[in-house]
């Protein structure tokens, strides 16, 4: 009994065949898993190791090396806020503070399963839209402090009331 459901399983096996070496498939496979489950669970790594022959040490190295992969549970909306030079110059810091405050407030109410999580992200490559943030995979440009409230409400209307 695989920990991956049919679709994902097929996708993973596809990747394993797609590249010159199995190991090359590690990144795409992890992306696929994360798209479905939100994060990479230990049992996933075990399965990859035992069933698909992707060494668990290699996989763990990759997960801990790259920013995108998460080996801890994630929240419904992961905010990745760019804090690099241009975004910083155009007001990232106050916006980040604002989001923090919201999350803190929410956590006070909802505890650990709040809707948002915030990650100060190194760079999102959209300096002409600075300050920029990613909500899950969606890019939000000009996310200055004054817009934060309505932005967050857009994603989770209820929670901010």
């Amino acid at each position: 009994m695989s920990v991956f459901d049919g679709g994902l399983k097929a996708e993973i096996e596809g990747f394993l065949k797609r590249y010159e070496t199995k190991r090359s498939a590690i990144l795409p496979v992890l992306h696929a898993i994360q798209d479905v489950h939100g994060w990479i669970k230990p049992e996933h790594i075990e399965e990859l190791h035992t069933v698909y022959g992707l060494d668990r040490v290699h996989v763990k190295e990759v997960i801990t090396f790259y920013d995108i992969y998460k080996d801890k549970p994630v929240r419904r909306f992961q905010i990745r806020y760019c804090k690099n030079i241009t975004c910083h110059m155009l007001g990232a810091r106050p916006a980040i503070a604002r989001i923090r405050a919201h999350i803190a407030a929410l956590d006070a109410v909802q505890g650990e399963d709040g809707a948002f999580s915030l990650e100060e992200f190194p760079c999102l490559g959209k300096c002409d839209g600075a300050p920029v943030m990613l909500v899950n995979k969606e890019r939000v440009e000009h996310a200055t402090v004054d817009k934060i409230d309505q932005l967050l409400t857009k994603y989770a209307p209820t929670v901010l009331r």
């Binding site: 040490v57 290699h58 190295e61 090396f65």
Partner: protein, 504 residues
């Protein structure tokens, strides 16, 4: 393996520190320097491992090249002029060291590596400066039990990557990885997976700092108190060349380390590393024991013991005498032993003493062999030399069937490699008179054994072992014996013949 072997027949001549050096084509400057005993400081480079080039310590200056280059990945080309002693190079080394020490905990006082730590060595060599680092350091997990033989301190680790490469290239277990990145990077195994193989302590050896420490040696002794002498590991028929580390003034052995040789390369197995314990006081047979006619067993002097043995020998006819010989003694000892008992006394009942459960052909593909005796080859050749069948077979049962009046038994040296030893000893107790020559203290508990002679350990005597391939392993520089009464076979035989010569 080593860069030198990669090179073809054609050679390259280049200059290192104004010294002409000719090496096989394809040799790196680092390897060449090592062959010439020119020392270029380094952490990540190891002759037995692939090149990583990450510590950036072995920087050298090559003429007409703008940047300093790392010697470990710098292939020697004809006419190249390399220097590892220029001021700018020294400065680079100093800063390389500084960077290594930025987040190093400097807990040398409680670090077992202190005294043989490369960081300390280089500090004395290229450092001796006041550190510029005055900010709080990055803290990482300490004293992790990462393997049955190992303790890992990730704070001391300088991420030279040697251990990871060892796991990948030598043992091929790949248990170790480097997780996270930047200065948060740590060495480790996969969560709650431990390193499990027979070569763990090599990680301690190749670790240039105190990140990996041996659980067996941990906190036992400071290395600067230890004296090391070369020897050959008696753990199996590979006969790895080793250095025995001991503190002679307290007659205690502390550890074994591999000595580079064509037999074992740079490594040795953990089983072999345990082959010092039996020579320490608490485990060894420290004095002769003999059982008098009254049946009382008492401690005796060596002379008494030998006299008693000689007396018994005189009473017995040579047909009633049997020799039970294990393969743990040196060629010289066998020669003397058989010369005396077989050639001059005419004893013909010679039996080999082996571990019945052993699988002599077994081999783990790296070093460790199923034949757990250092000198099987030497024994059979010694037997052939005196006209006896040389093939290796366990003669223990045959001996019991023959049930001779007098048995002279050369006991195995390593009890832990002889699981059946206790059982075998109890069975020997049934025989009328067994003179057991051994270093194994456990023999004392077998009261039925009438005559016990304490033997010297392999680190305490001179001689040669022949390994599985017939390669000679030399025991040249012995420690003083762990107990005054301990003798080697040659000495015992000499004394016996002396006594017999007089009494005849």
């Amino acid at each position: 393996m080593s860069e030198a072997s990669k090179g073809s027949q054609e050679t390259v001549t280049f200059t290192l520190n104004d010294r002409e050096i000719t090496v096989p084509k394809g040799t790196t400057v680092m390897a060449a320097a090592r062959q010439q005993d020119v020392y270029i400081p380094h952490f990540c480079w190891h002759p037995g491992l692939k090149i990583a080039g990450v510590c950036r310590f072995c920087l050298v200056k090559v003429d007409n090249r703008p940047k300093l280059e790392i010697a470990c990945n710098l292939t020697a080309t004809p006419g190249m002029k390399v220097s590892s002693v220029l001021p700018e190079v020294k400065e680079a080394h100093k800063w390389a060291l500084e960077f290594h020490l930025v987040n190093h905990p400097l807990d040398c006082p409680i670090c077992d590596q202190a005294g043989e730590c490369k960081l300390q060595d280089y500090y004395m060599e290229v450092g001796k400066y006041k550190s510029e680092m005055d900010r709080p350091k990055v803290l990482k997990p300490k004293a992790l039990e990462i393997g049955s033989e190992l303790v890992l301190d990730t704070e001391r680790c300088i991420l030279c990557d040697r251990c990871v490469r060892f796991e990948e290239e030598v043992t091929k277990t790949g248990a170790l990885g480097i997780f996270n990145r930047g200065d948060r990077a740590v060495i480790g195994t996969y969560p709650d997976k431990k390193i499990e193989h027979n070569y763990q302590d090599n990680l301690v050896d190749i670790c240039p700092v105190g990140a990996f420490t041996s659980r067996d040696f941990r906190f036992k002794q400071r290395v600067w108190f230890l004296k090391e002498k070369p020897a050959v590991c008696p753990g199996c028929s590979t006969g790895c060349h080793v250095d025995v580390h001991a503190k002679p003034q307290v007659r205690t052995y502390f550890r074994l380390k591999p000595r580079e040789s064509e037999v074992n390369g740079f490594w040795m197995c953990d089983k072999g590393r345990k082959t010092y314990k039996h020579m320490n006081q608490e485990q060894r047979l420290r004095f002769p024991l003999l059982t008098e006619a009254s049946g009382v067993r008492r401690r005796s002097t060596v002379d008494e013991a030998l006299a008693a043995l000689a007396a018994t020998m005189l009473k017995a006819d040579k047909s009633e005498v049997a020799l039970l010989v294990s393969a743990a003694y040196t060629c010289e000892e066998y020669a003397a032993f058989f010369e005396f008992f077989v050639r001059s006394l005419g004893v013909t009942n010679v039996y080999q003493w082996r571990e019945p459960t052993e699988d002599r052909e077994a081999f783990d593909g790296l070093l460790y062999r199923g034949d757990h005796n250092p000198n099987t080859r030497g024994l059979s050749e010694a037997l052939k030399a005196v006209g006896l069948p040389g093939e290796v077979k366990d003669g223990f049962e045959a001996l019991l069937r023959q049930a001779p009046k007098l048995v002279i038994a050369l006991g195995p040296e390593l009890a832990f490699q002889f699981p059946s030893l206790p059982a075998q000893l109890s069975r020997l107790e049934q025989l009328p008179f067994v003179s057991l020559w051994t270093i194994d203290g456990a023999a004392v508990s077998h009261v039925g054994l009438k005559h016990l002679l304490p033997m010297k350990g392999y680190a305490e005597k001179r001689g040669r072992f022949l390994n599985f391939a017939g390669k000679v392993g030399e025991l040249a520089d012995p420690f003083p014996a762990g107990s005054e009464d301990a003798r080697d076979v040659v000495e015992v035989v000499a004394a016996l013949s002396e006594i017999l010569a007089h009494s005849l």
